[in-house]
């Protein structure tokens, strides 16, 4: 049994097998270049093993020389594929070194065919026989080819290249890869080179068997690649498990997943997301088709966010209305994040969407309740100063009646002054208009209305309310002082509701001063601008807020009045908060309390 044949045949077939396996992997996944390059290395090694075997069966010096000549072809394949593999697998190694190696090796190959009998020998003069694995195998005796230096240089360059790449990987932190793969490549390549040299210089009596070293090399590489495949399979399993968990969470939260590619203007989405928007599973989803499902008012904003994203903001947050095919309307909240490429350009927007219809409905209900509460409170507090209002109305009515009766008396005489009659009629009209104004103001206060924002002048608001309550305050003996700042910017708010707040505060202030006392009853109304807000304050000289009650007084149903509803302050604060303002109270050093509230100024103003 020829051990030489067995050993080298096994080496060749093992290498071929590995080459085929990894070649097939590349065939199935065309971007697995690493596998292709490995496959080429293995292929080269198989061929080299074949040539090694052929050399040992050579019968003449010419035959020996010819085999060696052709053996350089797989060596060329191996060297180039190996450095390519290292480059791609390690993602390291200097490119110029790589080209140097390839260049030198290619030049060696050319020189191999062009000079002498082959790259190693100018001429093989004879064959000596040595014992190897129980057989007698020939080794060459002859004139060395000086151009062999080029081949050796290419090997040296390859060693340097691989070492450099391995060091880079080591520094990067992937020590295992550097040590194992880098180390084994260096070991086997250098081992082969050393053996080559030893045989060449006649130090050892062994044939040339570089292929065996390369088999060791590809074994190590194959081990590593197999490890990669196993890891990939494990990752895939983990990923699948994570995905399952994610889908469970998403289902529980009823979230829809979606992503939008800016460049291709394409949506990807889960089934649930499509159902949120009323899009059937099978329908194609492009931008215009999607936008059609939205409420007309929301379309432009959404389209803008998807087509021209704000470069400064990587977050995407909208609420939009969806019109379902059966006519229902749904509120959807979407939130996402933009992913950028290396140049900072937006490439992908990934997000989730949630059905918030019930939340929105509750919001609207709360607002309706608040408006209704405000209206009822207005009606209640109107009752509190209705005597003052009745008084207000009776004045113009008195003027009208007395003027009219005076006119009747004048006209009953035989001669009368027409100018005087005209005067009387003018006064009647004026008085009537005054009465109408009061009634209109009353009607406005009592009207059921939605929250309407408009530009409101704070000073005018204060003066209007004070005018309305003038008689009531007079009846209670309250002196009114106003300290209103000049040229206040307008505030953006609901006039009626803000009047409501002021009425409430003024009533409270008067009530606080209702106890008979030596102190003069003074109510001070102040307005001023604080940064971008308008601050209105109502101060009294009453008994003040009990220490510790500063927050309690704002709670609903808290009252110190026997007939009080206790809703005034909590409703007033709720109104101020709905205007994005602040509302607070404090005791004054000189006695009495002061209530402040701020409303942001209207940004629409120039």
């Amino acid at each position: 049994m020829s051990w030489v044949t067995v050993v080298f045949s096994m080496a060749a077939s093992a290498s071929l097998t590995l080459a085929l396996i990894h070649g097939f992997i590349w065939w199935r996944q065309r971007d697995a270049w690493v596998n292709l390059l490995f496959s080429l290395v293995a292929l080269g090694t198989a061929a080299l093993a074949g040539f090694n075997l052929a050399v040992m069966r050579a019968e003449s010096p010419a035959g020996f020389a010819a085999v060696i000549r052709w053996a350089h072809v797989p060596v060329w394949v191996i060297v180039l594929a190996l450095v390519g593999f290292v480059r791609l697998y390690f993602l390291a190694g200097r490119t110029w070194l790589l080209w140097t190696v390839c260049g030198l090796r290619t030049v060696s190959l050319l020189l191999n065919f062009l000079t002498g009998q082959n790259l190693n020998y100018r001429e093989i003069t004879g064959l000596r026989h040595v014992s190897f694995l129980g057989e007698s195998v020939p080794i060459a005796v002859g004139v060395p080819n000086p151009w062999m230096l080029v081949g050796q240089l290419s090997l040296l360059a390859m060693v340097i290249f691989v070492a450099d790449a391995a060091i880079t990987v080591w520094r990067r932190g992937d020590r295992r890869l550097a040590a194992f793969v880098g180390g084994s490549i260096l070991l086997f390549v250098m081992g082969g080179a050393v053996q080559d040299a030893l045989v060449f210089w006649g130090v050892v009596q062994w044939p040339l068997i570089p292929s065996l070293f390369y088999v060791g090399l590809i074994a190590a590489m194959a081990y590593e690649l197999a490890g990669d495949s196993l890891r990939a399979a494990q990752l895939a399993r983990d990923l699948h498990a994570r995905e399952e968990e994610l889908m469970l969470a998403v289902d529980a939260a009823s979230l829809g997943f979606w992503s939008w590619e800016f460049a291709r203007k394409e949506f990807w989405s889960t089934e649930h997301w499509r159902s949120l928007f009323g899009i059937a599973k099978a329908e194609r989803l492009d931008l215009d088709y999607f936008l059609q499902h939205l409420h007309p008012d929301d379309r432009e904003l959404t389209r803008q966010a998807l087509v021209e994203p704000d470069p400064n903001n990587s977050r995407y947050q909208t609420q939009c209305r969806v019109l379902l095919p059966d006519g229902r309307m749904r509120w959807i909240a979407s939130q996402g994040r933009i992913e950028y490429d290396r140049n900072g350009k937006s490439i992908l927007l990934r997000g989730v969407s949630l059905d918030i219809t019930h939340v929105k409905q509750m919001d609207l209900e709360v607002e309706a309740h608040r408006n209704e509460g405000a209206r009822l409170s207005r009606a209640a507090s109107l009752g509190e100063f209705s005597s003052g209002l009745a008084h207000e109305l009776k004045q113009p009515l008195t003027a009208i009646l007395s003027n009219a009766q005076a006119a009747q008396l004048f006209l009953a005489r035989d001669t009368y002054d027409l100018e005087q009659i005209r005067d009387i009629l003018r006064d009647i009209v004026t008085a009537d208009r005054r009465a109408s104004d009061i009634i209109s103001a009353l009607r406005l206060l009592l009207k059921k209305s939605e929250f309407q924002r408009a530009a409101v002048d704070a000073n005018q608001l204060i003066n209007d309310v004070l005018k309305l309550m003038r008689n009531d305050l007079l009846a209670r003996g309250v002196l009114v002082v106003t300290e209103l700042a000049d040229q206040l910017p307008s505030i953006h708010g609901d006039r009626v509701q803000l009047q409501q707040v002021l009425i409430n505060l003024i009533l409270n202030a008067s009530d606080a001063m209702s106890q008979p006392t030596e102190k003069p009853r003074v109510l001070t109304a102040r307005s001023r601008q604080v940064e971008s807000n308008i601050q209105i304050s109502v101060a009294d000289t009453g008994c003040g807020i009990l220490p510790g009650d500063e927050e309690k007084i704002f709670e609903p149903y808290h009252t110190t009045k026997p007939q009080g509803l206790g809703l005034g302050l909590s409703l007033s604060r709720s109104i101020v908060l709905a205007h994005d303002g602040r509302f607070w109270a404090e005791n004054q050093a000189a006695g009495g309390a002061v209530f402040h509230f701020t409303i942001p100024k209207w940004k629409g103003e120039p």
């Binding site: 009745a390 008084h391 008396l409």
Partner: protein
């Protein structure tokens, strides 16, 4: 019939059997003007005062026959004026005219010596009756 100098406007066509000098004290200008006009039309002489203080400064100089007094005024209220008159021993008949219907106010004013307590808007007939009562008293 007493003729008076000063600011009392003479009634041009006396209608009633007697001409009274009536002071109308009310802070509301439109009411003051209208009531004075009505009294003129009824044949009396009348003058308006915008506040209790203004009236109290002048009543001793040009003494009216009767005072129509509003209750709710800034500064001195109607009741204050009544008390001042009483303290000064004026014996001026006072008719209260008011838009207020606070409970207890009527009793208080009557206690202070008001001859009548009239609610606004004033009816001409009721007013003139009250004046007759005031003079008779």
């Amino acid at each position: 019939m007493r003729r008076r100098q000063g600011w009392y406007k003479e009634a041009i066509f006396p209608r009633t059997a007697f001409v009274l000098m009536i002071a109308v004290v009310d802070d509301e200008e439109s009411v003051r003007k209208a009531v004075v006009r009505l009294l003129h039309a009824a044949g009396h002489a009348a003058r308006g005062f915008a506040s209790g203080a203004e009236f109290l400064q002048s009543w001793q100089v040009d003494r009216p026959d009767c005072v129509l007094l509003d209750l709710q005024m800034p500064g001195l209220s109607g009741t204050d004026v009544q008390q001042a008159l009483r303290r000064a021993g004026a014996h001026l008949p006072v008719v209260i005219i008011t838009a207020n219907d606070r409970p207890g106010a009527r009793e208080e004013c009557i206690r202070e010596g008001a001859v009548a307590y009239l609610y606004k808007p004033l009816d001409e007939g009721i007013l003139l009756n009250a004046l007759k009562l005031a003079i008779g008293a």
